[in-house]
Amino acid sequence: MRRVAVIGVGVTKFGKHDRTSSELFAEAAADALADAGLPASAVQALYYGNVVGGETEHQLHTGPQAASILGIPGIPTTRFETACASSHAAFRHAVMEIAAGVSDVVLAGGAERVLNVPTAESTEYFAYASDAVWEQTLGLTFPGVFALIARAHMDKYGTTEEQMAAVAVKNHKHGTKNPKAQFQKEITVEQVLKSAYVADPLKLYDCCPFTDGGAAVVLASEEVARKHRKPVWVLASAAASDWMLMGDKRDLSRVPATERAAAAAYRQAGLSPQDVDVVELHDCFTIAEIIATEGLGLFEPGAGGLAAAKGWTSLGGKIPVNPSGGLKAKGHPIGATGAAQVAEIVTQLRGEAGPRQVEGARTGLAHTLGGNTATVLVSLFGRG
């Protein structure tokens, strides 16, 4: 298999936009190509994440739609849909295509637009990523899915609402250092604890927001990447899944797909959790960050809440998690999130993250979770 590098990244401002998702992607992709120093004609394929375009924009066939709006029709392009992990799945496909020798330059990314519809409507569309027959009919929501997980984790390990609040406070603090973030203001533990319950025990400030945005990365073979100023190497890209139904999950306090994907990624890269300097992980809800830090092997099962409350995952801590502000503060345009996490890790490993730079970071990890924890992707990166 050939080595693969990321040589260009682009991310739009996250928040509310009055542009279509394909326009948002095109902005990010044009920025990524400029960052790579490559002409559009160099791109040999586009793999694209978009989730609820059919619902919020009445738009399917978003692969060629995105390529057309970017201005590069003609290349192979496919839309990937693995709920909130869609553009990380697209990224992994691009990695495999270059590693296999099929292409030398591939664009991967995604975009989402949801703030053009009311919250009750987007809540319904997001719930489409749970089972239509067994779960949607009960009125299960995504905060509901993670509330079931949170309650099981609290019951098994004694994790507290204060510890979950610490994750939100930390990511909001990181978000103040990211000009692209949807929220750039600090919050306090008291504010989180006093916010209204969305799905007990999760409160409004435990939840990431609805977000419009786009993200893109340019991947290249070693031969092309060697000509770039600062290639960041893809050391591993792994995916795993789990049972779809909440009732089929054996232990609600864990996310087996994270554990499987992480094990595969560490094995591919020949690395262990202790080798990782910076992490962007899927904090769609505060409890999701706590369990991800455990599943990725950064902390023992049950210790994730304590780690957040002690500041071990803050910038300057033992292992900084979500220096971008994470989904919680940076925002979560679901089709773009995986690519945006990769873009942040690449920026960190280049040493170009400004006030949120993790000093001396050489190895980074991106973790993206899809929907009801049934999809997870984990990729590892190293600087040249």
Partner: protein, 122 residues
């Protein structure tokens, strides 16, 4: 073979149904094509008692459009006494009485043509 339509037709009459693998004895609900334990395709339907305890629960206060008028409402993962688990809406139990380990009993939730899984007091 137990299809989803058969499952919900029986559930509508109050009978929860699982499938048991004739090769290895694995119990599953809902039905799957292949046995996840041994990979065989030898399921037989088995009636379940519908009795279990709450493994985890939440009270949903911000609901999807279709359910907004019913909020707040509780959903729970219930571990049935046969060992398998199922998500259901909790009905006729005050929200403040909900707890992990609370015994509950299956009851069908019927809304026009649609049947879904509910749990009420044991």
């Amino acid at each position: 073979m137990v299809t989803l339509r058969h499952f919900f037709a029986r559930a509508r009459e109050g009978q929860l149904t699982g499938v048991r693998c004739e090769k290895c004895g694995e119990l599953a609900i809902p039905p799957k094509a292949l046995c996840p334990a041994c990979g065989e395709r030898a399921w037989q339907p088995v009636p379940l008692a519908g009795e279990g305890t709450i493994a985890s629960f939440t009270v949903i206060r911000v609901a999807p459009r279709a359910w907004a008028a019913e909020a707040p409402y509780a959903v729970a993962v219930v571990k049935l006494k046969e060992g398998v688990s199922l998500l259901g809406r909790v009905v006729d139990i005050p929200l403040e009485k909900l707890a992990i380990g609370l015994p509950v009993r299956f009851r069908p939730l019927i809304r026009d043509e649609q049947t879904s899984v509910g749990f009420g007091p044991a």
